[in-house]
């Protein structure tokens, strides 16, 4: 009975392409991640890890829109930046409490995203992505050419107050930021998990897979898509605000094609539309990026090549590949345990079937 329930839950998870996580593995991973700054007391390493965590939040939000909404929103970086700029501005100019600034950054991002969602959603697939891409570039160019002093032009904002850890020693402060970043990743992951299993998430999946059917069931596509846009933007905006507060600065360079290609690579390599994809992809690309730190342009060439190879050879990314491999491994092991007289046509309940269609 228990295994039936488990199989059902697991198969639902698999059907939606989001594997129900193995509690032990996740727990172990979390503990290891949390312990990192205590074990490896290298400021630079923690900084890189922290940055990776911020990118994970951004990529999770992006992936939410892609996997559930089915839309590649290339403007997500601009949204991230808007969160950062707003948070920076309100705390610099009006001395707003940094925690509140975080929320305000997220809200501003959500608002902007909701507004551009309207024309974007009217466009078909590729044109929608094009529009978001153009939006991002336009925002970036606007900021760069801004001479009013509001956004600081191509120099950006600096001196943004952090999250009030001023009393702590520098490395303790960094650790605090790190754990908050980790917390953000976890909270986002949990939120996304809940979201996709919620009625709204299910409805959105139905909408993505079969718009006609969804419409006939009285599901209002526009409203739900806008909610998805706004939700994922809020997350990205918060990530942007946090980024601005940790580094104390934010500038248009964070929106350029270079960072964009890094993030696209992270998403693609990890696995589009999968739960763990953004996290795995971010980690991998960050490792590659850091390993090639000294090579400057070669770094981006390598990332570009990785992206190209992945999209051509394994377009669904690593997570589905690993899932397939794992499933095949389990099948192979289970065959070993099969009784002598053979199971015939019946497949034992807890034997997973190979992955068919994950999310897009």
């Amino acid at each position: 009975m228990a295994s039936v329930a488990h199989e059902t839950r697991a198969s639902v998870g698999r059907l939606m392409g989001w594997r129900s996580p193995n509690a032990f593995a996740v727990g172990a991973l979390l503990i290891a991640a949390a312990a990192l700054p205590l074990i490896w007391r290298n400021d630079y390493v923690i900084d890189v890890a922290l940055t990776a965590l911020i990118w994970m939040v951004l990529n999770q939000s992006w992936n939410l829109q892609l996997g559930i909404g089915g839309i590649w929103n290339f403007g997500q970086l601009a949204i991230f930046a808007i969160g950062g700029y707003v948070a920076g501005l309100v705390s610099l100019r009006w001395g707003i409490d940094p925690w509140l600034a975080l929320v305000m950054g997220g809200s501003a991002a959500a608002l902007v995203s909701a507004v551009i969602a309207i024309p974007v959603l009217r466009l078909r697939g590729i044109y929608a992505s094009l529009l978001t891409f153009s939006f991002a570039e336009v925002v970036r160019l606007l900021v760069i050419s801004d001479e009013s002093g509001l956004t600081g032009g191509s120099f950006g904002l600096s001196g943004i107050p952090g999250l009030a850890f001023e009393g702590l020693a520098p490395d303790a402060k960094q650790r605090a930021y790190y754990w908050i970043a980790l917390g953000l990743v976890v909270v986002t992951a949990v939120f996304i998990y809940v979201f996709i299993h919620s009625p709204l998430g299910t409805a959105l999946k139905a909408l993505r897979d079969s718009p006609a059917y969804a419409a006939s069931r009285g599901v209002s596509p526009m409203k739900m898509q806008v909610i998805t846009f706004a939700t994922s933007a809020f997350i990205a905006g918060v990530a942007g605000a946090f980024y601005a507060q940790y580094y104390g600065t934010i500038s248009p360079s964070v929106m350029g094609l270079g960072p964009l290609s890094l993030f696209v690579a992270m998403l693609v390599v990890g696995g589009l539309g999968t739960f763990w994809g953004p996290m795995l992809g971010t980690a991998l690309i960050m490792v590659v990026s850091e390993a090639l730190r000294d090579l400057e342009e070669a770094r981006l060439i390598v990332v570009g090549l990785i992206l190209l190879l992945t999209i051509v050879l394994a377009p669904r990314g690593l997570v589905p590949l690993l899932q397939q491999g794992w499933a095949r491994l389990q099948q192979w092991m289970a065959e070993d345990d099969a009784p002598e007289d053979g199971p015939g046509e019946d497949v034992p309940e807890n034997k997973p079937t190979p992955q068919q269609e994950g999310s897009r």
Partner: protein
């Protein structure tokens, strides 16, 4: 008033260049259902080839045009084979999106290879002809601008003749309109794909040569042209070559007008807003047609 005419002239010149770039995008989209993000890289390559021929060998603009066209044509075919062809027919993935990303990846690689080889500093290429042509009182245009528009228009006309009068030109249109029927006529589709990518890339490369004297040659030289081409693409829809050309001129003129009345800084954002409004009314773009995915 004269600044108005000046803007019109300027807009027509830029419109010609936008047409040159975007028409290639339309061709590729029509046949391969791919939005080729690497076209900006082809502009980049064109600029560098002409710079190399000029600074290395002292060869003039004509050599630059021919050289750039040849090199970018070759690259176009390579990109087709490496980044697009393997994706055709792959199940379980959205072809348009994956091809978009793979060409995007190619663009990133090109830009950074250029950065690696040539460095970030801008390279200068002198204009084809110096001096200005005075049209009417207070309205003038540089000779180079005249050449730019001239070459662009000649290329567009040549393309039109190619597409409607030659065997493979008609073949390209056939593949774009009815893939199965085209195959049944014995039209070799792979060769058509290669040709389409090659021709489109060559057009972008030529645009790159023309632009090289106006904007410097740098690794980012492809970014703005690509963005403009994308804007024209969204605006006009990618349905027909003629529609794209018209859309390109409209955008060129619009941009010039916005620059005139609001300042250059605002031209891109206002353009963007205008496009968004157009899209609210006609989501497929001005001349767009509802397409069905065929690959």
């Amino acid at each position: 008033m004269r600044s108005f005419f000046q803007a019109v002239v300027s807009g027509l010149v830029t419109g010609s260049l936008y047409a040159l770039m975007t028409v290639g995008m339309t061709l590729i989209y029509g046949t391969l259902r791919t939005l080729n993000m690497a076209l900006g890289a082809m502009v980049l390559v064109g600029g560098y080839v002409s710079w190399m021929l000029f600074s290395g060998l002292g060869w003039g603009p004509l050599a630059g045009l021919v050289g750039a066209a040849a090199v970018t044509f070759a690259f176009g075919v390579v990109i087709q084979q490496v980044a697009v062809r393997p994706l055709i027919g792959k199940t379980g993935v959205d072809f348009e999106m994956t091809a978009f990303i793979s060409t995007f990846a190619v663009a990133i690689v090109f830009a950074n290879v250029a950065l690696e080889i040539y460095g970030a500093r801008n390279k200068a290429v002198p204009p084809v002809v110096e001096g200005r042509l005075h049209l009417i009182e207070g309205v003038s245009v540089s000779w180079h601008q005249v050449v730019m528009a001239g070459v662009a228009i000649v290329m567009l006309v040549a393309l039109g003749i190619f597409l409607s009068k030659t065997r493979y030109g008609l073949g390209i249109s056939a593949v774009a309109q009815q893939l199965d029927a085209a195959r049944l006529m014995g039209i070799p589709v792979q060769r058509v794909y290669n040709l389409t990518m090659g021709v489109s890339s060559a057009l972008a490369g030529i645009a790159g040569v023309l632009l090289a004297s106006v904007f410097f040659v740098s690794p980012n030289a492809g970014d703005l042209p690509l963005l403009k081409a994308l804007i024209v693409a969204i605006f006009g829809g990618l349905g027909s070559v003629r529609g794209t050309i018209v859309a390109a001129y409209i955008i060129g003129l619009l941009e010039a007008m916005i620059s005139l009345y609001f300042g250059v800084k605002w031209s891109l954002p206002v353009l963007f807003v205008v496009i968004m409004i157009v899209l609210l009314i006609r989501p497929t773009g001005l001349f767009g047609k509802p397409e069905e995915a065929r690959l």
